[in-house]
């Protein structure tokens, strides 16, 4: 393995900008790495060698012309639910297996404009519905730390690609934990900004009021660089927030002095077993050791998160996925009339998890149940926002587990609800729209597998959040103690 592939995005940008190395050299090294390991790992559904080489040449020309590019030459994995013009964009679904996007998502475009190199379109749970990538209809992605295990999901392809040095930055999308959980499973940083901070235009919708794009990276600094490149208002997304972005890369810090960090009383880790309980307790102590004051905060609604989420997200998805009807693009399975064509196309095109969520969401919105389910969940959602607002009166950040276990083996969660439980700690932040990330915090189990610490901040406090995560990462360097299996 060429050591170039191990460099952080920040290092690559420094070297490419100083012309110590070219974007082409970085790109060739990463493409070689992809060719070497990706048949085993399956991070990418589509490899973009030609596109990557073109973009590398373009970046080198811009750098030669004296342009300062904040992501010059940084190899990028793009989750395959984001459009990139001229490339296959599948959402890991048979219904879009051969669809070529004719336009580019705003977030992807901003990364490319900043000089990033698209290496490939990464695997995910179909339409981002899942926590293991096992729901992908188009490929299996393996956890680079243990190939018998899942990489997490839904952004598992991007998380695994970054962990296995097949990219320096992976774009993911997080609806209920889909960046943070795979980040934790793959020993990388997974960062979900405030809802509305990064444009959703060109992100294939799962649940519109929850979906948010963010980066997966090997360092917090790289997450900050990616965030600075992507964040900010987009007139193409009505829910994109029109307010100035505080740059995060310049807010990184080395200690946590003066910060109060809230530990959620209801997120009792003892139920996760003694080893994981001890791991998280140690992580909280590490925060305190860096100067943070730990305070207990309450989240009385904590146990209602899953119920709330599994009404709102499926309801929105049942409507968002109606457009996959075999009329304008994607798969069509013929039928005697248009109604049969719809039913056959959607039966053949969607996997079981997608069907389950469409059905439950359709039910939750249907006549007679709307108030009992959907409106009730929206009211519960208000309570989550209120609870967090109250909690943040007592603290600056909240610390919590990013997942309730390390990566699990393939096919080990046969019951849908046990899979949904993986998101127990990440869903409340999603419901409240908060910025949150997971940062490596040690290893648990046999074999020892990576675990992630989740940090969350009030709305729009990304800079503070990334600053604190950076201090934790520098002081503990947990990620560096692990080794990938490829």
């Amino acid at each position: 393995m060429n050591d170039i592939v191990k460099r952080s995005a920040a290092d690559i940008v420094r070297d490419v900008s100083a012309k110590r190395i070219s974007a082409r050299d970085v790109t060739e090294a990463v493409l070689a790495r992809v060719d070497e390991v990706d048949d085993r790992l399956g991070c990418y559904l589509t490899r973009l060698h030609d596109r990557a080489r073109q973009q590398a040449q373009h970046v080198d020309e811009r750098v030669a012309a004296g342009e300062r590019l904040p992501l010059a030459g940084v190899p990028l994995a793009v989750k395959d639910n984001m459009c990139l013009a001229g490339t296959r964009t599948t959402a890991a679904s048979k219904i879009l297996e051969n669809w070529i996007a004719p336009y580019t998502a705003t977030a992807v475009q901003r990364m490319l404009d900043a000089g990033a190199i698209p290496i490939g379109k990464s695997n995910l749970d179909e339409f981002a519905m899942g926590s293991s990538c096992e729901n992908s209809a188009l490929g299996v992605t393996r956890n680079p730390y243990d190939l018998k295990r899942v990489p997490g999901g839904s952004s598992g392809g991007s998380a695994a690609a970054v962990a296995a040095f097949e990219a320096a930055i992976g774009l993911g999308s997080d609806t209920g934990g889909s960046i943070r959980e795979p980040g934790a499973f793959c020993n990388v940083v997974g960062f979900k900004p405030t809802y509305g901070r990064v444009s959703r235009y060109g992100l294939i919708a799962f649940a519109s009021s929850l979906d948010q794009i963010g980066p997966l990276t090997r360092t917090v600094e790289d997450a900050a660089l990616a965030y600075d490149a992507m964040a900010g208002h987009d007139p193409m997304d009505s829910t994109s927030i029109d307010r100035p972005v505080e740059p995060a890369a310049s807010s990184l810090r080395d200690d946590l002095k003066g910060l109060r960090i809230g530990i959620v009383k209801e997120f009792e880790t003892a139920k996760l077993g003694p080893e994981i309980d001890a791991l998280y307790k140690r992580a909280y102590e590490e925060l305190a050791g860096l100067g943070a004051e730990l305070v207990e905060v309450a989240l009385p609604t904590a146990d209602y998160g899953l119920a709330t989420y599994y009404l709102i997200a499926p309801a929105e998805c049942s409507s968002n996925l109606a457009r996959f009807d075999g009329v304008r693009y994607g798969l069509r399975v013929d039928g005697a009339d248009v109604g049969q064509m719809y039913e056959q196309t959607r039966a053949a095109g969607f996997g079981a998890e997608v069907k389950r969520r469409i059905l439950i969401g359709t039910y939750a919105l249907s006549s007679g149940y709307y108030d009992a389910y959907y409106v009730k969940a929206q009211k519960a959602r208000t309570m989550f926002a209120q609870d967090f607002r109250k909690a943040f009166e007592r603290c600056d950040l909240i610390a919590a587990p990013a997942a309730s276990s390390p990566a699990f083996e393939f096919d080990s969660k046969s019951d849908p609800y046990s899979m949904y439980m993986m998101d127990y700690y990440t869903i409340p932040m999603s419901l409240a729209g908060l910025p949150a990330l997971s940062v490596p915090c040690g290893y648990a189990g046999t074999p020892a597998l990576p675990m992630g610490l989740q940090l969350a901040a009030p709305l729009f406090e990304e800079a503070k959040l990334l600053g604190a995560a950076h201090a934790y990462e520098r002081a503990t360097a947990h990620a560096a103690k692990g080794t990938v299996a490829v």
Partner: protein
């Protein structure tokens, strides 16, 4: 002898009107009728994966102005909802519409019947939504769904802003329904919010029709009539439906609540019941769009842009003494009506000005192809001319000539009259002298008159008028001539 029950009809109208904007409701594709199929489409209006809607500000302003025009209340808070159902020409398989919080509530449409009777119909609401694409049914069935074996779709119209106006069941006859629709049409055109071209499908309507014993306050079972493509077909369809329902009631039958299609060729409605299950639209707030707040300042700003509207004009013109046909004619030519109103505002006698505007001025406009409002004859100049006639300064013959000369650009009527001494003369001596000259030159005429050929009087009057260069008061000439001859 049994008294036959008299029935009265109860009719409510729902109509869809395309708004006049440059771009579509939620994307920047041009809002234009026609064009090559599938050329006015983009990721948003084709519902490509990942695309998002952004509301057109002008469409929202049009809606508020339409509401204000009918005296509707404009709620401070409004929002967009999704109406979920599958149909091949509806790209997202949901329509962005408004469910429980429309942009306008209530209001009254004033309209008139052919005989000039003024009527009112209350509005329930007007809400904003997006249009669908257009399906053409092929392979048999003569373009209708029934009998066709496939359909072809053009999405150019998909996403065009549409307002849906829902009336209360205040209409009592087909004539009233048409009067109501005509008034809506006139008002929207006057406001500039729509072109309302039924032949282009920019106004489409359905009618809810029921009958009940005259004088009863209970509502009968209603049917919904669709496929009415012109005001004439609205008239025929409703008349035919009232007849059908009356016949059923008179024969002791029961009306079935159903949707019925109007068949223009057969001249009757037919049942459109399908085997499809009842709709469950699963309305919910569109999470891709944010709510609309409407402040008092915006309402006041828009209120100032509301012109004098057709029903107000019609009532006023009737008060001026126009007959219903004349008033309608003038109302329907809003530029001419503006012109006319301006002449009255400039001091012209309303009745006299009307005669010019509908008479000679319209004739000149027709002959020259220049609208009165575009001509060099200003409303003030017309008012001056009218005042000269009314003050008997000039006679109507001179006035007619003057108008032609004004039209040709010769300047103000007063200036021409003064320069050329065209003031009407009622000087008896002067006129008698002219009469004597004419009678001397036409001895035979005088003899003929005395012999009973009284129609010679017209010829003689003309000759005297000519001799006076048109200035003589024609009535006086006539009177004096008669005296001389008898």
């Amino acid at each position: 002898m049994t008294v036959k029950t008299q029935y009265e009809a109860v009719i409510g109208i729902e109509c869809h009107v395309e708004l006049k904007t440059r771009s579509k409701m939620f994307c920047a594709c041009a809002n234009e009728f026609g064009g090559e199929p599938n050329t006015k489409v983009c990721p948003v209006c084709l519902a490509l994966p990942g695309s998002l809607p952004v509301a057109n500000a002008e469409a929202i302003r049009h809606m508020i102005r339409a509401g204000l025009a009918f005296g509707a209340s404009i709620p401070a808070f409004s929002k967009f909802d999704r109406k979920n159902y599958f149909y091949p020409d509806m790209p997202k398989d949901y329509q962005i519409s408004q469910y429980d919080m429309p942009l306008t509530l209530g209001g009254t449409v004033r309209y008139w019947l052919e005989d000039g009777t003024l009527k009112e119909c209350k509005l329930t609401r007007i809400h904003l939504e997006e249009d669908t694409g257009k399906s053409m049914h092929g392979g048999g069935g003569d373009g209708r769904i029934a009998g066709s074996s496939f359909s072809l779709i053009d999405f150019n119209r998909a996403g065009v802003p549409l307002m849906e106006c829902v009336s209360e069941p205040d209409l009592r006859s087909a004539q009233e329904a048409v009067g109501y629709l005509e008034s809506l049409k006139r008002t929207f055109v006057q406001l500039g919010v729509s072109d309302v071209k039924m032949e282009e499908g920019s106004l489409r309507c359905d009618a809810n029709v029921s009958i009940r014993p005259a004088g009863s306050s209970e509502l009968g079972t209603k049917t919904e009539i669709k496929n009415m493509n012109s005001f004439r077909s609205v008239l025929r369809a409703i008349e035919s439906e009232i007849e059908r329902q009356t016949a059923i009631m008179e024969s002791g039958g029961r009306i079935v609540q159903e949707t019925r299609g109007w068949d223009e060729g057969q001249g009757e409605t037919h049942s459109m019941r399908s085997k499809e299950e009842a709709h469950d639209y699963r309305y919910f707030p569109d999470p891709d769009l944010v709510p609309i707040e409407i402040g008092a300042a915006l309402i006041e700003e828009l209120r100032k842009t509301i012109p004098v509207l057709p029903p107000q004009r019609f009532a006023k013109y009737r008060e001026y003494g126009m007959d219903a046909k004349q008033a309608t004619q003038l109302v329907d030519n809003s530029a001419l009506a503006d012109y006319y109103d301006a002449s009255v505002a400039a001091g012209a006698n309303a009745q006299a000005s009307m005669n010019f505007v509908l008479g000679d001025l319209s004739r000149l406009a027709n002959e020259t192809g220049i609208a009165a409002s575009e001509s060099v004859v200003t409303p003030a100049a017309l008012a001056e001319l009218v005042t000269l006639v009314e003050g008997k300064t000039i006679n109507s013959k001179i006035a007619k000539e003057l108008l032609e000369r004004m039209w040709a650009g010769e300047g103000s009527p007063k200036a021409i009259v003064e320069k050329e001494g065209l003031t009407q003369t009622s000087d008896t001596g002067e006129i008698e002298k002219l009469i004597d000259d004419i009678l001397a030159a036409n001895e035979k005429a005088a003899t003929d008159y005395k012999a009973g050929k009284t129609n010679i009087l017209g010829f003689l009057t003309g000759a005297v008028m000519k001799a006076s260069r048109g200035k003589a008061n024609p009535a006086l000439v006539n009177e004096l001539l008669r005296k001389k001859l008898e």
